[in-house]
Symmetry: C2
Subunit: 225 residues, 2 copies
């Protein structure tokens, strides 16, 4: 029986906190965090605005929730494995995930209460370093550093004015022209000579920096052990 006068395509399997939050992620991915409104969210779910309030207390809770979902997508390192391999894997994964959900980076700043996925994540990284016999002190240093680098890199990538498919050159050329006024000479030089070269990919910088950090940490680690 179950008469359903449903105008949205397909069925409407019943709401749940999970479904609400994942839908919110999808909306933010598609149109940016500003496009995520209670109304747009409910529409993407095929329901009405007030329905989502049965599952979340308010919009802030949604924001906290989706940040934690994103963190949950990052691969955890496995304590006990080779620490460089594990740490690099999780750093690469973090960057990939944050590039897929760039809005999450900006949210991290304002949301100060970490969710379970976030905590689990921290725990795994610490465990991996400690298992590799990093001292507590070195673990703290290393962790702060790796996270700073990773998030900061993602932040910069998110700030770049172009999307995946475009190359740097396509977008930068017209911008460069605007200030060929002679201000910023070094910036312009670097841009034309280096960043705008055919094969340049800013993303590659990530690996370079990560290697540098890992090398340096390895040195410190063996020095202490």
């Amino acid at each position: 029986m179950t008469e359903r006068t449903d105008d949205s395509p397909g069925e409407r399997p019943r709401l749940s906190r999970e479904r609400v939050l994942w839908a919110a992620v999808a909306v933010a991915d598609a149109g940016g965090i500003d496009s995520l409104t209670i109304r747009s969210l409910s529409q993407s779910l095929g329901t009405k605005p007030m329905s989502v309030y049965y599952y979340v207390a308010n919009k802030d809770e949604i924001l906290d929730g989706i940040v934690d979902l994103v963190f949950g997508e990052i691969e955890l390192p496995e304590p006990g494995g080779d620490w460089r391999t594990e740490i690099r894997r999780r750093a690469d994964s973090a960057r990939r995930v944050l590039r897929a959900h760039p809005w999450a980076i900006g949210l991290m700043e304002s949301r100060t209460s970490p969710g379970p996925a976030t905590l689990r994540h921290h725990d795994a990284v610490i465990a991996t370093l400690r298992a590799a016999s990093f001292s507590q002190e070195l673990t703290a240093h290393a962790y702060a550093m790796l996270d700073s680098y990773t998030y900061g890199f993602a932040l910069q990538e998110a700030g770049l004015p172009f999307e995946g498919s475009d190359t740097v050159a396509d977008v930068a050329e017209p911008i460069m022209e605007r200030f060929s006024t002679g201000e910023y000479p070094h910036l312009v030089e670097m841009a034309t000579d280096y960043y705008l070269r055919p094969g340049y990919d800013f993303g590659d910088e990530f690996t370079w920096g990560l290697d540098l950090i890992l090398d340096a940490l390895a040195t410190r680690a063996t020095a202490t052990t």
Copy 2:
């Protein structure tokens, strides 16, 4: 003559784009970025909402503007000086500035068009590295890295759930109790043994990591020269 029926204290010197933007910074500093509304802004200026629209096209322009003002507060390195000294000075300055205006970090992600202060800043850093005879390639690596680290660190600091005066311990204790459930054992261990020690200051981690990066860059630089 100039009859003024002014109800706000003091005078009202006349608006200007500058005054509007600095007032916006002040409002955001005081109450967070969410508290910055056209209405709160105009009130802090002693005027009415629509008055600010004579100086800015819309709110987004305000956001772009204040991010650039914040960037303008960061000390520029001086090309020609000792590169380590200069780069460290600007990194320290950047962190200080971003700690004073934590809302700016989250905004960086969404605002993709850099303002003049931001561009001037980039130019100065590149100039400093190049003057120290870093190759273009190494300059690109170093810059991406230093910025990632600096912004990422600021991002993490901003995410910490306490303000300047409190110590980590004050705020962390009650949180820790919530999950003494045995999940996150390594995290809890690190927290109690290390982060919650009396003198611990997360900010000190910045120096440690920065030194590590600078050392490593110095090695790479001399290897190439």
